[in-house]
C-alpha cells in the first residue's frame, strides 16, 4: 500500500496542473483568438461605453421600452450584510425565486402582476412568461406574445403608430433552431436598441 503514496501525490499534482491550469489557460488563449467577442461576454458598446451584454437581461421600467420578465435576483443589504434585498437583474448574483406551486407568496405576486398587466392592455391574454420570474433572474428574452402584448403601451409612450412597433417586434423575433430546437423568442435589449434607433430617425 505504501507504494501508492507517491503516485497519490505526484500523479495528482501532474493531472491538476494539466486539467486545472494548462487546460483552462490554453482554452482562454485559443477561444480569445477565435471568438474574441463571445469570450469577453458578448458585450454591447454604445458611444464607447459598455451598455450591457447581448446575452444578459437588464431591467426596463420606462413605458417607452419593452420590459423583460420579472427577476428574483438579490443583493446584500447595505445596512445588514446577513440579509439580502431585491435587486432585479443583478448579473453578479444570479438566481430564481424558488417559490413552489403551492406558495402563497407566488400566488399573491402572480395575481398582482396579472391585474397590473390587464389594466395596461385589456385586449390580450396575459402571457405567462411576463408574470413569472426566470431561473437565472437574467433571462434576456421574452416570448413573441409577451412582446406583442406590450406594443400598445410602447407605441403610446413614443407616439409611434402601433403597426410600426409591431413590425419591429416581428423583425426581432427569433424562431426555433432548424424549426425544432428551443422556443420562439425576442431579445429585449436588442429590441429596445432597435426601437431607439427607429425613434432617432
Amino acid at each position: 500500500m505504501l507504494r501508492e503514496i507517491r503516485p497519490a501525490i505526484v500523479l495528482l499534482l501532474a493531472l491538476t496542473a494539466i486539467t486545472g491550469l494548462a487546460y483552462p489557460l490554453a482554452m482562454t488563449a485559443i477561444a480569445g483568438t477565435l471568438f474574441p467577442v463571445q469570450a469577453q461576454g458578448s458585450l454591447i458598446e454604445k458611444d464607447g461605453k459598455v451598455i450591457g451584454s447581448a446575452l444578459i437581461g437588464q431591467e426596463f421600467k420606462d413605458d417607452k421600452y419593452f420590459h423583460g420578465r420579472p427577476s428574483a435576483t438579490v443583493a446584500p443589504d447595505p445596512n445588514d450584510s446577513t440579509k439580502t434585498v431585491p435587486a432585479p437583474y443583478n448579473a453578479a448574483n444570479s438566481g430564481g425565486s424558488n417559490l413552489g406551486p403551492t406558495s402563497k407568496a407566488l400566488a399573491d405576486r402572480l395575481k398582482e402582476d396579472v391585474d397590473k398587466l390587464r389594466s395596461e392592455n385589456p385586449n390580450a391574454a396575459v402571457p405567462v412568461d411576463l408574470v413569472t420570474t426566470s431561473a437565472s433572474g437574467l433571462d434576456p428574452n421574452i416570448s413573441p406574445e409577451a412582446a406583442q402584448f406590450q406594443v400598445p403601451r410602447v407605441a403610446k409612450a413614443r407616439n409611434l403608430p402601433e403597426d410600426q412597433v409591431k413590425q419591429l417586434v416581428t423583425a426581432n423575433t427569433e424562431g426555433r433552431l432548424l424549426g425544432l430546437l428551443g422556443e420562439p423568442r425576442v431579445n429585449v435589449l436588442a429590441l429596445n436598441l432597435a426601437l431607439d434607433r427607429m425613434a432617432a430617425k
Partner: protein, 567 residues
C-alpha cells in the same frame, strides 16, 4: 405538450443511442490499453506522468489496492480544494477580490467535488476566485468523473475476467481516462460553447451602464472550460449560482441541446463498453434498454406536469405551462427534459429551478435520484449502480427457479448479493435518516424557503441529492448553514464511498471466479423478459423504500394544489 416538444425528445434519444456504439468502441480500446488515433500526441505525456509518479503501468492491482489508491487520490483532491478556498484571498487570479471561504462551507464544497456531487452551497460568481474555479473545481470535475468511469471499468473487468486476482491499475486507468477520453472532448466542446456565447476570460467583472442608466455588474470568467467538463463528467457544479440556467452558462437552444447530450453520452457508452468487454454487445444494449424505459416514463410525466401548469396559474387564466423558474429560450419541454436527464444521470446541473416545478413535475427528478441514478447515471457511477440492481434481479430470478443465478458467465453467490444489498440500502438510510432530523431540528427547519409540504420536499430533495451525489437542488433551501454544510457533506461522503467499496468488493470477488459457459438452464439476459425483470426490481425496491416519504411531500402537495390550497 406539443408535437415539436416530443420531436425534440425523440431526436435527443436517437442521438444518444447513435453515439453509444462508436464511443463504446473507443473507450474499450482506451481501457484495454490499446493504441488510439490520439496516441501519437498523448502517449509521450502519458508515459511522462507514469515516469515522474513512479507508476509501473504493467503492474495491476488487487481490488483492495485499487480502492485504496482511489481513496488516497481523493484525500489529495480534498486538500487541494479546501486549501484553495481558505487561501484564495491571497492567491492570484482573483480580480473580483473574493475573500477566504469559511471553514464549514469549504469543507462542504471540497467533499462535494471529490464525490462528484457538486452541491452548490456556494454561489460561484459571488464567492469563488478564478483560481479556485480552475484549479480547485475544474480539475476535480475531471478527476471525480474519471474516478467514476474507471471504477465502473474495474467492475466490468470483474465480470469479464476469469480466475484473476487483479482488476486493473487505478493510476493507469485514471490517467488514460483523463487524457484520452475527457480532455480531447472537452477541448473541442469548450470552443463550441464559446462560439455559442459562453465567456472564457480571466478579465474582471464588467461594469455596464444600462439603457435606462442603471449600473449593472456582469460576472464573467473562465466559464466555458469548466462548463464543458461539468456536463461531460456529470459533475453539475456551476460556475454561476443559477448554473445552466444562466445565459452565460447556457446561452442558446443549441448549447442546451448539446449540454443535454454531453450529460448522457459517456454513461450510455459505458453500457457498450460492458457489452464489448464481456464479449456480447447485446448484454450492453439490454442494460441501456432498462435505462431507456425508465427514462422515457420520467420524461413523459415531468413534461406533462410542467406543460399543465399550476392551479394558481389556471385560476388567473394564464396558459402556456409553468414558466416560474424557467428560461424563455428553453421553454417547457427543454426545461423538463433537462431536469429528467440531469437527475437520471447524477449530473445535477439545472437549466430551470426545480424548486418551482409543479409538485409532480418536481417529483420525477426526486424519484430519479432516489432510484440510485441508474438511468444512464453519473459517468461510471450509473453503470456500477445499475449492475448492483442487475445482480439483485438475477438473484430474484434464481430464487424463482431454485438455481444458482449466473450473469454473463459468472455465478452470483451470497457474497455478491450481500454486497449489492449493502450498497443499495445505505442510500435510503442516509437520505431518509437525515431528512427526519432536518424536519425537526429547529436550526434546520429555519432553512426552508417554502411552507407546507413543499418545505418538506426541499429537505428531502437536499439529502437525496447529496446522498445520490447529484447536486441539483430545490434551491430555496438555505444550505449554507453549519447544520446543512456538515450533514450534507456526510450524506455525500457515505453516498459515494459506501457504494463504491462494496461495488469494488464485488469486482474483486467476480474476477477471481471461473467463467461458466451458458447452458440450457441459464436465464438469458439480453431479452425483453430480463429488461422487464430488472425494471420491476428497481421499481419495487425503490417504491418500497421511498414511497412513504414522497406521500408526505410532492404527492400531498399535488392534492393540496388541486384543492386550491396555498401555504
Amino acid at each position: 405538450m406539443t408535437v415539436i416538444g416530443w420531436l425534440q425528445i425523440i431526436l435527443y434519444c436517437a442521438i444518444v443511442v447513435a453515439l453509444t456504439k462508436p464511443l463504446g468502441w473507443y473507450m474499450t480500446r482506451v481501457f484495454n490499453g490499446e493504441r488510439t488515433f490520439l496516441s501519437p500526441v498523448l502517449r509521450p505525456i502519458e508515459a511522462g506522468i507514469y515516469w515522474i509518479s513512479g507508476v509501473d503501468e504493467k503492474r495491476e492491482q488487487h481490488w483492495m489496492t485499487y480502492t485504496v489508491a482511489m481513496l488516497l487520490f481523493h484525500v489529495g483532491g480534498f486538500l487541494i480544494i479546501y486549501g484553495l478556498m481558505r487561501l484564495q484571498a491571497v492567491l492570484p487570479f482573483n480580480p473580483a477580490g473574493q475573500s477566504a471561504v469559511g471553514e464549514d462551507l469549504s469543507f462542504n464544497t471540497a467533499i462535494s467535488f471529490i464525490t462528484n456531487t457538486n452541491w452548490q452551497n456556494y454561489g460561484g460568481e459571488s464567492t469563488l476566485s478564478y483560481l479556485t474555479q480552475m484549479v480547485g473545481l475544474t480539475h476535480q470535475n475531471f478527476l471525480s468523473a474519471a474516478t467514476g468511469i474507471v471504477l465502473a471499468v474495474a467492475l466490468i473487468r470483474g465480470f469479464s475476467r476469469a480466475s484473476m486476482r487483479t482488476v486493473g491499475n487505478f493510476w493507469v486507468d485514471v490517467t488514460r481516462c483523463t487524457l484520452y477520453v475527457l480532455l480531447p472532448i472537452c477541448i473541442v466542446y469548450t470552443l463550441f460553447l464559446v462560439w455559442q456565447g459562453i465567456p472564457q476570460t480571466l478579465g474582471a467583472y464588467v461594469e455596464a451602464t444600462t439603457l435606462e442608466g442603471a449600473r449593472q455588474t456582469i460576472a464573467v470568467g473562465p466559464v466555458a472550460s469548466q462548463v464543458a467538463i461539468k456536463m461531460l463528467g456529470t459533475n453539475g457544479g456551476g460556475f454561476f449560482n443559477a448554473n445552466a440556467a444562466h445565459p452565460f452558462e447556457n446561452p442558446t437552444a443549441l448549447s442546451n441541446f448539446v449540454q443535454m447530450l454531453s450529460i448522457f453520452v459517456l454513461g450510455a457508452a459505458l453500457t457498450n463498453v460492458f457489452g464489448r468487454m464481456v464479449g456480447n454487445q447485446r448484454q450492453g444494449w439490454a442494460i441501456l434498454a432498462v435505462m431507456g424505459v425508465l427514462f422515457v416514463a420520467g420524461v413523459g410525466v415531468c413534461y406533462w406536469a410542467e406543460a399543465n401548469g399550476t392551479a394558481t396559474m389556471h385560476a388567473l387564466g394564464l396558459t402556456g405551462g409553468n414558466m416560474e423558474g424557467k428560461e424563455v429560450r428553453f421553454g417547457i419541454v427543454a426545461s423538463s427534459l433537462f431536469a429528467v436527464i440531469t437527475t437520471a444521470a447524477s449530473c445535477g446541473a439545472v437549466n430551470a429551478m426545480h424548486d418551482s416545478f409543479t409538485a409532480l413535475g418536481g417529483m420525477i427528478p426526486l424519484i430519479n435520484i432516489q432510484l440510485g441514478e441508474i438511468i444512464v447515471g453519473g459517468v461510471g457511477a450509473g453503470m456500477y449502480g445499475m449492475l448492483l440492481f442487475v445482480i439483485l434481479a438475477i438473484f430474484v430470478a434464481g430464487l424463482m427457479v431454485g438455481r444458482t443465478p449466473e450473469y454473463v458467465g459468472k455465478k452470483i453467490e451470497a457474497r455478491e448479493v450481500k454486497m449489492a444489498m449493502l450498497a443499495i440500502l445505505v442510500l435510503p438510510l442516509m437520505y431518509l435518516g437525515w431528512t427526519a432530523v432536518g424536519v425537526v431540528y429547529p436550526a434546520a427547519v429555519a432553512s426552508m424557503a417554502n411552507a407546507g409540504p413543499h418545505g418538506f420536499t426541499e429537505v428531502l430533495y437536499a439529502f437525496t441529492s447529496a446522498t445520490g451525489n447529484n447536486g441539483s437542488a430545490f434551491a430555496g433551501l438555505t444550505g449554507n448553514t453549519l447544520f446543512y454544510n456538515l450533514t450534507l457533506a456526510s450524506a455525500m461522503f457515505v453516498g459515494r464511498f459506501f457504494m463504491i467499496v462494496p461495488a469494488m468488493a464485488i469486482a474483486g470477488s467476480l474476477a477471481g471466479k471461473k467463467s461458466v459457459p451458458a447452458s440450457a438452464g441459464t436465464f438469458p439476459t439480453t431479452g425483453g423478459l430480463f429488461v422487464g425483470l430488472v425494471v420491476g426490481v428497481i421499481l419495487i425496491i425503490g417504491g418500497l423504500t421511498f414511497f412513504p416519504a414522497l406521500a408526505l411531500g410532492p404527492i400531498v402537495e399535488h392534492l393540496a394544489m388541486n384543492a386550491g390550497q396555498v401555504f
